[in-house]
């Protein structure tokens, strides 16, 4: 009986969290189009459903019925595999994101997450590092020069940013003394100034910029880079494979926003309210995540794109030393040197 309940709870959590994430990712595509339209004096999608809310669904149906093209000379297996690999890491990463301090499910210990590990942070970083494989394989397997260039750029970009990203988080980990995300979030409970953004402002800025690069988002979207590389790694993809790349991208953005909220913005804590009920905590978490998603979209449609070498310059010469120095100072303070 206990076994059945445990399985039932796991299935329920999987359904809620994965379903929720995919719905949010789909709605983000709508939000992207609506917000961009709003920024650019347009209407955006408004034909399908009231205010265009069914547009993601219509897009999905369209993608499923489109022809799947595989270019001549493409590596057929890798070409088919790449979109799945690209969408997988974000899906895996969300498993350890806690959405509330205590799970409301029956006989479920720990935070409201699909799985709560001792090394949440390492797990999620490892999987977000894997996301680049989808892009590299997709670009290489297409047998197109523009795709290949996009793939090469993406891999170089990933190396230069992952270091700054991880080192900036490590400062927070050192402060909290835990690799568990719910512990990190719990350390920021209570008043709003307990949030890590106030104790680690530099790490927050570095992390936020690195998330843009990590998710291949504008202004760091060199892997696609429409003006010179046409579509970059996804130039040759069509149909649902093309959609999978985007699903993966938006899921990755969602996971990255969740991480930013958990590490720096108080996580699921409602400001000035200890022990809020779980649904308020989920609400607080999602509100903060949606605000960050809006920031992602806002930046996308406002500023120009970096050049490839300028990004490397930024990553290696500015962000890496800054993140290292930040970690060093944080470590010194945490270990009581001062």
């Amino acid at each position: 009986m206990d076994m059945l309940i445990t399985i039932g709870v796991i299935v329920a959590k999987l359904t809620c969290i994965y379903g929720g994430m995919v719905v949010i990712a789909a709605l983000t595509t709508l939000a992207e189009r609506k917000v961009s339209a709003w920024i650019q004096f347009r209407y955006g999608p408004n034909r399908v459903g009231p205010w265009g809310v069914l547009q993601p669904l219509a897009d999905g149906v369209k993608f499923i019925f489109k022809e799947e093209l595989v270019p001549d000379g493409a590596n057929k297996w890798l070409f088919r595999l790449a979109p799945a690999i690209s969408a997988m890491p974000a899906m895996m990463g969300v498993a350890v994101i806690p959405f509330a301090a205590a799970s409301p499910f029956y006989q479920d210990e720990g935070p409201l997450a699909i799985a709560s590990l001792q090394i949440d942070v390492l797990y999620i970083l490892a999987f977000s590092g894997l996301s680049i494989y989808g892009i590299i394989l997709g670009g290489w397997a297409s047998n197109s020069k523009f795709s290949l260039l996009g793939a090469i750029r993406a891999s170089a970009q990933m190396i230069s940013y992952e270091l700054a990203l991880i080192l900036s988080i490590m400062a927070v980990v050192v402060m909290t003394g835990s690799f568990q995300m719910n512990e990190i979030a719990n350390a920021q409970g209570g008043a709003i100034w307990n949030w890590n953004i106030f104790s680690q402002p530099l790490a927050f800025i570095l992390f936020l910029i690195a998330t843009f690069a990590e998710t291949n988002r504008h202004p760091f979207d060199f892997a696609e880079c429409e003006p010179e590389l046409v579509g970059g790694f996804h130039t040759e993809f069509s149909s649902m494979r093309f959609a999978l790349f985007f699903l993966g991208e938006y899921c990755a953005i969602f996971v990255m926003c969740c991480m930013t909220v958990l590490f720096f913005l108080g996580g699921y804590h409602v400001p000035f309210m200890e022990d809020a009920p779980w649904f308020l905590q989920v609400g607080a978490m999602l509100t903060k995540v949606i605000a960050l998603l809006f920031l992602f979209i806002w930046v996308r449609w406002t500023i120009p794109r970096f050049r490839f070498d300028q990004l490397m310059d930024l990553g290696w010469k500015r962000f890496l030393p800054l993140a290292l120095a930040n970690l060093l100072v944080t470590g010194a303070i945490a270990s009581g040197v001062f």
């Binding site: 920024i39 010179e228 449609w301 120009p304 794109r305 050049r307 490839f308």
Partner: protein, 411 residues
């Protein structure tokens, strides 16, 4: 450095293929269907990693034989074809062509017609520069700027629609003047636009000029020295961007430009950023000139807008409807216009540089030769010079900042 353009041979790889440092170059074909090539330009290039080792511009995908068409059609019927040269500034093309023919036939055009022409040219220049600003920023990823500039351009097109009856391809200029006078409504619309536009330019500048990413993408990219610019016969904002103060409106004035008060903005470095700054400042100056022209139009109300020379100039529209002689006259001028024997070169400062029309007539109704000096062609020629040895991402900044329209390049 000075020898570089002499040594350059299109399509010939300048890279030493036996040099082990280079490895194998990757040939990449960009265009003619490519989002950043502004129409149907094809670039053949060889990449050494991300660096463009060689770049070669391939033209002719939009060749329609415009110059030859003039020989077939005759002088008067070529006007609509000039619209289609640089189709983002049709009125400047019309005026350039008309000035060339007027020089050939030695026609004095009324003062009010000149004032209207100046107004139209400056408004068209703003529209063309807005296209430059929008497309070059969309190439560098600032997509919203495109919509900002197109919103402003839409205002200009509404004005031109109200005045000429067309948004694009206006064909509103005639030999000896313009087709019809501006009315109160159009003048009001123009004034309204010119009053609010400088504030809009400030807004564009807020988005781009001080933006660190925009600065980094454009500064020191595509640097052109004054000598190179002259050697490649670049004109217009591209030449002024490297600090050469050469503008036909000042140096060889036409349509009474010498009587207007305006400045010629010049750059210092000659890179993409300077070219951008020059164009932004030119939009302000164009606003200034257009406002002065509007003021003068208020004083010259009621005067003729077409010359009285009946050998070459169309009869007034009202009379054509009433009198058979005038109708025949109009028919003769449209189908069988005979300009005096000789040759003439008329040039205007178009948005992209010196737009010249060289007309040769033997006194019959068939033109002997019509040569069009399109500034865009020279701008395209400079691509290999500026792009070789730079990163692939810079090609979009360079193409954007050189600013050409393939309709004019290929003719």
């Amino acid at each position: 450095m000075a020898m570089k353009y002499m040594d350059y041979r299109p399509g010939f790889s300048q890279v030493d293929h036996d040099d082990p440092m280079h490895g194998e170059l990757m040939p990449v074909n960009m265009g003619p269907q490519h989002p950043a090539t502004h129409g149907v330009l094809r670039l053949g290039m060889e990449l050494d990693g991300e660096t463009m080792a060689t770049v070669d511009a391939d033209l002719g995908f939009l060749h329609r034989g415009k110059e030859k068409a003039c020989e077939g059609l005759g002088w008067a019927k070529f006007f609509p074809h000039t619209d289609r040269l640089d189709y983002v500034q049709p009125l400047i093309n019309n005026i350039g062509y008309a000035i060339s023919l007027e020089k050939l036939a030695k026609i004095e055009i009324p003062q009010r017609a000149d004032e209207i022409r100046v107004l139209l040219m400056e408004i068209s220049r703003i529209a063309a520069h807005l296209i430059y600003l929008g497309t070059s920023s969309i190439d560098l990823g600032a997509i919203t700027m495109f919509f900002n500039t197109f919103k402003e351009r839409e205002n200009i097109y509404s004005i031109l629609d109200a005045y000429t009856g067309h948004r694009m391809n206006n064909t509103y200029v005639r030999i000896g003047g313009v087709y019809a006078d501006v009315d109160e409504k159009v003048e009001g619309m123009m004034r309204e636009f010119l009053d609010q536009f400088p504030a809009r330019i400030d807004e564009f500048e807020k988005l781009l000029t001080g933006n660190r990413i925009w600065y980094d993408r454009n500064r020191e990219v595509g640097v052109l020295t004054p000598d190179e610019a002259r050697a490649w016969s670049l004109t217009g904002p591209n030449l002024r961007g490297c600090g050469v103060e050469w503008d036909l409106r000042k140096n060889e004035p036409y349509s009474g430009y010498e009587t207007y008060d305006f400045d010629i903005p010049v750059g210092t470095v000659g890179d993409c950023y300077d070219r951008y700054m020059v164009r932004v400042e030119e939009m302000r100056q164009s606003c200034k000139i257009a406002s002065q022209a509007l003021e003068r139009l208020a004083h010259s109300k009621g005067q003729d807008v077409l010359a009285e020379d009946r050998r070459y100039v169309l009869p007034p529209r009202g009379k054509v409807m009433d009198s058979m002689e005038e109708l025949i006259h109009q028919f003769k001028i449209v189908t069988d216009l005979r300009l005096p024997k000789g040759e003439a070169y008329g040039a205007v400062e178009a948005a992209k540089g010196e737009l010249g029309f060289y007309s040769v007539s033997d006194g019959t109704a068939t033109p002997v030769r019509m040569h069009i000096r399109a500034p865009g062609l020279m701008n395209v020629q400079a691509i290999p010079l500026l792009a070789e040895g730079r990163l692939l991402s810079d090609i979009v900044a360079i193409i954007g900042s050189l600013d050409f329209v393939m309709g004019e390049v290929d003719r």
